[in-house]
């Protein structure tokens, strides 16, 4: 995933916090995926288990954790899986945003869609710019 678009995400666990450059994985329907080393460093709360479908179509039972995330200034508790060697941000984590990718730098920028909707409504209400 060398050329995949990336964003900065802050992760806050039970013991500590870290700021990571994460790959936006539109193929993943969940929240975030965190490597074991990072998960051990920040301390994550196991909340359950579930079956996940891997990219090759096979299923696997896995543990599910929660972690505090801050993406584009939006803080929330997000479900997380522990696997792999890079931090991934899935579709559930970027659901509040519109994602724009710079094809040259592969850097992604996020825009909060609900906020934009509110701003548009406010502008419309006060009769400002369209």
């Amino acid at each position: 995933m060398v050329d995949s678009p990336r964003i900065t995400v802050s992760l806050k666990g039970k013991f500590g916090a870290t700021r990571e450059t994460a790959i936006i994985d539109t193929g993943y329907t969940g929240g975030v995926v965190i490597p074991l080393e990072t998960a051990l460093k920040i301390g994550m709360d196991k909340v359950g288990e579930g079956i996940i479908e891997l990219a090759d179509g096979t299923n696997k039972t896995t543990e599910i954790f929660t972690v505090g995330t801050t993406i584009n200034g939006v803080e929330k508790d997000t479900t997380a899986l522990v696997m792999g060697n890079e931090v991934l941000v899935g579709m559930a984590a970027i659901q509040p945003f519109r994602v724009c990718v710079d094809g040259g730098t592969r850097k992604a920028t996020l825009e909060e869609t609900s906020q934009k909707r509110v701003m548009t409504m406010v502008r419309s209400f006060v009769g400002g710019e369209k």
Partner: protein, 79 residues
Amino acid sequence: MSQLTDRGREIYNDLYPVLVANEGDYVAIEITTGDFFVADSLDKAILMARSKYPDKEFYCTQIGKETVFSFANRVTGVR
């Protein structure tokens, strides 16, 4: 599979006739009581489940699917 997933899956199958009305939503099931929490995201379902059972773990899945999450998602749209 672990006991949590095994038992959770059994309860989910029993509950399915009730849960099917919320197909596509997420459910977190507490396996000792059979209590369950449905929301449009797993984050919200877990939040509700944890507010009632702060120290418990839950079987999690997406209603109508065998899996809770997929790495084989295809993003679709109109160009």
